[in-house]
Symmetry: C2
């Protein structure tokens, strides 16, 4: 069986994406996750071009990685210098990584117009740079930048760059579609020519997604014998992104019988996909293959009944294999059977004839029609169920709140103040607080009012706050959905609110969050 090794460049090429940036700490955390996932190589950065990357290599050395080898990335030496005198190459060695990946030019246009040198001199640069590195590095890879475009322009020249790299000791020749515009057929034909010229050289593939073909181009290269696949988590990367490892890995493992990750590790795929997006604060695409929230969601009535009978009928793989799950969508459908399934979606096992449970579910449907969405707000959902079942406890009662946002002249930010009156047990508490904006003021006032009764609220914090204006063309009168994510020392939970009034929507989500915290700590006390 062909062995394929995965080379992740999320931390280097991935960070070329617009609106995607990672702190040093983020990069370390991602590298550790990739190690845990069983990725063979993790490219940490380009030490010659970016000082933040130097810090990464220093820091990551402190960790003992189980499965991953860290790679540093850099260019052939400057045309006006020697290899020995090139800071870029020295920085690569200073990174002290087990793997170094050097890229060079394959395309005559780039040699002449970007590098400003001759074709022959470029061959020399490739050779000398690799030969200089060779004695000092355990594993040395060569990225042939723009290889496919270069080959289309001048095949012999492109091949001669590879020959130089092999001669100087590169262990794998990674063929790059840097501009991302080639078709699978082109990849196939050109790899065939490379294979004929270098029958035993290990080949790799690195492609971009400008033609929406990066996954296909990568697996085509594997079919043509590539033993290394470079890509990024979720396909982040410059322009339209790099090849998406979250799609390539399951295609290799589950469709092509090439188990590049263990099946145990493959189950972590969805969670690492989310982890990277969370750190970069990018909303996930629900439609993402394999790992997206909708990837195994069934909406059409025909599909649902068929998939219930035999999942194979409408699912290309079992969602659990990649850590995902099947979801049944209620919209436009109804009937008790669908509602029962929806309940199971939320982990609620109910008898179809239980009237209380049916009432919960009717309420749920009604709320969803109003724009509530409980998938990311499990805490609000749990409270809703408790309430309908008569099991909920009231920790406090709102008598009223008033939020004032006042701007005194054009050039200053407004001042936001909230006053709140709540009843806790028999006691009335009236407090006020300022805040950065009206919602923050309300949040501050509510906590101030409650913390003296419930000191455990002090270890609870809001970690995220999201606002979505709901469909409809009503300008500033549109309804909004607020999602709040909270955490304490042991848990994370999400709550939701919907209203025309953003303060009211935020209030609903805040109240749920606090109630959930109280309910959770009470459950905990009862247990212990």
């Amino acid at each position: 069986m062909q062995e394929v090794r995965i080379y992740d460049t999320t931390l280097r090429d991935g960070t070329q994406a617009e609106d995607f940036s990672l702190s040093l700490e983020d990069k370390i955390r991602i590298a550790l996750k990739l190690d845990d996932l069983g990725i063979h190589y993790v490219e940490g950065g380009w030490p010659g071009s970016n000082p933040k990357d130097v810090g990464f290599f220093e820091e990551i050395r402190k960790y003992e990685l189980k499965q991953t080898q860290i790679a540093a990335f850099g260019a052939t030496h400057h045309p006006k210098k020697t290899a020995e005198a090139d800071e870029n190459l020295r920085a690569l060695l200073a990174a002290k990584t087990p793997v170094v990946t050097l890229f060079g030019k394959s395309w005559t246009i780039h040699v002449r117009e970007a590098l400003h040198t001759t074709l022959n001199h470029n061959l020399q640069l490739i050779h000398d740079s690799l030969a200089y590195l060779r004695p000092h590095v355990k594993t040395l890879f060569y990225d042939a930048e723009h290889f496919f475009d270069g080959f289309k322009e001048e095949p012999e020249y492109a091949l001669s760059t590879l020959a130089k790299a092999l001669e100087a000791g590169a262990e794998c020749l990674i063929l790059c579609d840097t501009n991302g515009g080639n078709l699978p057929t082109t990849i196939r034909e050109i790899m065939q020519s490379v294979r004929e010229r270098f029958p035993s050289a290990p080949l790799g593939i690195h492609v971009h997604n400008d033609g929406d073909l990066a996954v296909a181009n990568s697996i085509t290269a594997v079919e043509m014998g590539a033993v290394q696949v470079q890509g990024t988590i979720n396909g982040v990367g410059e322009r339209c992104g790099n090849a998406n490892l979250c799609s390539i890995i399951p295609n290799l493992c589950l469709k092509m019988n090439i188990p590049c990750l263990s099946s145990e590790n493959l189950k972590k795929l969805r969670s690492i996909s989310r982890f990277v997006l969370e750190l970069a604060n990018i909303p996930p695409s629900r439609y993402q293959p394999y790992v997206g929230r909708s990837a195994f969601a069934h909406k059409g009535g025909v599909h649902i009944s068929a998939v219930e009978k035999n999942p194979l009928t409408y699912e290309h793989i079992s969602p659990e294999l990649v850590g995902n799950r099947r979801r049944i969508l209620v919209s436009d459908l109804s009937g008790r059977a669908t509602i029962k399934r929806k309940a199971e979606d939320y982990g609620l096992h109910l008898d179809k004839s239980d009237p209380v449970a049916m009432q919960v579910l009717e309420e749920l449907k009604d709320l969803e029609n109003q724009g509530f969405q409980f998938e990311a707000a499990e805490a609000s959902f749990e409270l809703l169920v408790n309430r309908a079942m008569g099991k909920s406890k009231r920790y406090f009662e709102l008598v009223g709140f008033r939020v004032i946002d006042q701007k005194m002249d054009e050039h200053n930010e407004p001042v936001a103040e909230a006053t709140i009156l709540v009843k806790v047990g028999g006691h009335m508490e009236h407090t006020a607080a300022l805040g950065l904006g009206p919602v923050n003021a309300l949040d501050n006032a509510l906590r101030k009012a409650l913390e003296k009764f419930y000191p455990e609220l002090k270890d609870m914090e809001l970690s995220d706050y999201k606002v979505r204006v709901l469909p409809g063309k009503e300008g500033t009168a549109a309804r909004v959905r607020v999602l709040i994510e909270s955490h304490d020392t042991s848990d994370h939970w999400g709550t939701v609110g919907v209203s025309h009034d953003i303060i009211e929507a935020s209030w609903q989500a805040l109240v749920d969050s606090i109630n959930y915290k109280m309910y959770k700590s009470e459950k905990h006390h009862r247990k212990s």
Copy 2:
């Protein structure tokens, strides 16, 4: 040259996507845009399964389409009925479309477990349904559902369903990868077998994207001779979506020398991609190939200087061909040359040495760092430039505002009231208004205060209001960006505001919107 016709199913299969729904009016508007784009077939719905779809067919008949033929979609007749007695088939004819597309089962599992009938009877269903429709329809297509999975299970049976469809008069056999999990190699091999069996039958392709390979699978089918490609705008569709026509069309036209659209129409691709997302209120993916905002965005310093010298070096196609454009990103870069390019990005041609223009651009960079984003807020940008150039006029001055949001008990919505004091010319105007939420109240109060001075504000309306919580983990104290879209009888314009305080951010965007309206009508008066 091979002729390929494009069959769009955004309005039918596309609406199976989670969180994607279209009103009847939306569907009509999209159909007209697709006609304008030159799409050959537009599938409008499944009249037998959805009453909304019946309305679509009635309505679209009133329009004279230039380039598109409308198709109605339906299933083979019910196994317990005859074709003549099947409401589904009757509904198809009642739709009175020039094209009918009928789908049938190719996969034995589906015949037995979903249709609950015998393999032979299914062949009969396919034949009888098509034969019943044939005399009444101008163009009749057959969608072989699950064809590739069916072929893998029982090749002879799958082929025999196609034979029945041909025999009954289907003009094109569309092979479907309904579960979306097949690899290009599989598509290629199976199409080869189909071609051998039916050397002259016109074939089509309809695939889903569960393996992240839908675009590749579609163009592979074209390489194997398919003359019809089915897909959706932006690849919307059930689970991970259908094949994305916004990628397939340019791949065919620009890479495979198959001009399925004219080059004039191809330039509309980006705008139709946005149009569909706007109607469905789905945020566009900036990384989308060809049409995404980042698809031709250059961030790395090396890339920027190279792409300036010769666009070919880092762009697989010229962005204008699909109605997109190159963008140079400022982040992490600086220097006057980059800033000059950024200015050109906003259509501002400036001399590098002009101090005023340089000041505008410094301010712009500063605002972008704060989270402002002017791409969708050209009006705010234009005002910013005018201001810095000393050309702006003040239509009113804010003395102060106060917004009060008051909730009197737990069970009622709060009441939102805004008071505002503005100075217009020498006159002070003090007004108050209620609203659906604090932002709406402020909006109402501001208009009330200004309309008596500027009656032209009456024909201006807010058409959209968006809130985005900006990166950072500060809970309810996070900064928000508000985008407001306004229109009057002749124009649309966008404005932006950023603050920790959502009311302040909304205020900024509201004020810009009103100022822009005044500025615009003054310019107009001067001209006329």
